[in-house]
Symmetry: C2
Subunit: 133 residues, 2 copies
DNA sequence: CAGCATCCAGCTTGATACTG
DNA sequence: CAGTATCAAGCTGGATGCTG
C-alpha cells in the first residue's frame, strides 16, 4: 500500500543504509556494534579515561575497547585528548555529532531495557510452543 | 560531576545493558546486529514476505535472514504469519513492541545517515594526519 | 516460495605478553 | 596508565544442496 510511497525517502537522502555499498552502513555498524554502542552510551555520561571506560563497559577487553575507540574517533564521534604526562592520561569524550548519535542510541537502549519484561515473556511463550512440537 | 548522579538511573531500571550478564544486552544485539537493524527497518515500512525482505535488505543471505527473523520473533518484536497454501506464503510484520523499537532504531539510522558528510570529512582528516606521521 | 542442514573459510574476539 | 603485538579458538556468515 505504501511501499513505494515511503521508499521515496530513500531517494531524498544522499546515504542509505539499506544499500550494501553505502558508507553509512559501516558507520552504523561502528555505532551499533557489540562495543560501539555501549562505549558511546558510557561516554554520554561524561568524559572518561581509558580504564574508566573499561570498567564501565562490563566485559570489554583492552583490545576491543582500543579498537572500538579508534573506529569511533576516526568517524568523528569521539574525541581523544591525550596529555603527555607521566603516567599518561588520556580522556575520551563525545564530539557534538557523537552526542547526537548517542542520544538516539540511548533512546533505543532505554526502549529495549524498558520492554524487556515483554521480550522475556515472548521468549518463554516461543520456547514453550516450540519445545512442545 | 554527574557520573554518580546519572548512574543512579541504572538502579531504577530492572535491566541494564552495561552489565555483562543482563538479558537486555542480548536483545540489544539482536536489534542492532548486522541484519537485525536493517530487518526491523525494512519491516517498519510494512508487512513483507521472506523474499521481499531479502531483496530489500541488500546483501543478506537466506540463512542470515532466516536466523535474524527467528531471533526477532522469539524476542517478540516480529510476528510471523504463515498461510498453509501452496506455494506457501509467509508474512512478517512488526509487533507493537517491535514497532516501538524500530522507531528508535530508525531515528538512529536517519541521524547517522544525516551526519555522514561530517563523518566522512572526519575520516579524511583522521587518515591524513595519521598517514603523515 | 519458504525455508532447513551441512560444510568450511575467514573474520572477530579474548588471553597473554610486552612497551613507553 | 594507556596502550600495541601476537596467536589460537570460536563464532559468523556465505555457498550449496535439499524439502515441503
Amino acid at each position: 500500500m505504501n511501499g513505494t510511497q515511503e521508499r521515496a525517502e530513500d531517494q531524498d537522502l544522499a546515504y542509505n543504509v539499506f544499500a550494501k555499498a553505502c558508507p553509512s552502513r559501516g558507520t552504523l555498524e561502528h555505532v551499533t556494534g557489540r562495543w560501539g554502542g555501549l562505549t558511546l552510551g558510557a561516554l554520554y555520561e561524561g568524559s572518561m579515561r581509558f580504564n574508566e571506560l573499561r570498567r564501565r563497559v562490563d566485559g570489554v577487553s583492552e583490545k576491543m575497547l582500543s579498537q572500538t575507540l579508534h573506529a569511533l574517533e576516526r568517524d568523528g564521534l569521539v574525541h581523544r585528548e591525550a596529555q603527555p604526562t607521566n603516567p599518561p592520561r588520556v580522556d575520551y569524550e563525545l564530539t557534538p555529532v557523537g552526542r547526537e548519535v548517542a542520544e538516539r542510541l540511548l533512546a533505543l537502549i532505554h526502549c529495549v531495557e524498558g520492554r524487556m519484561d515483554d521480550v522475556l515473556a515472548a521468549r518463554e511463550r516461543y520456547d514453550e510452543t516450540r519445545g512442545a512440537l
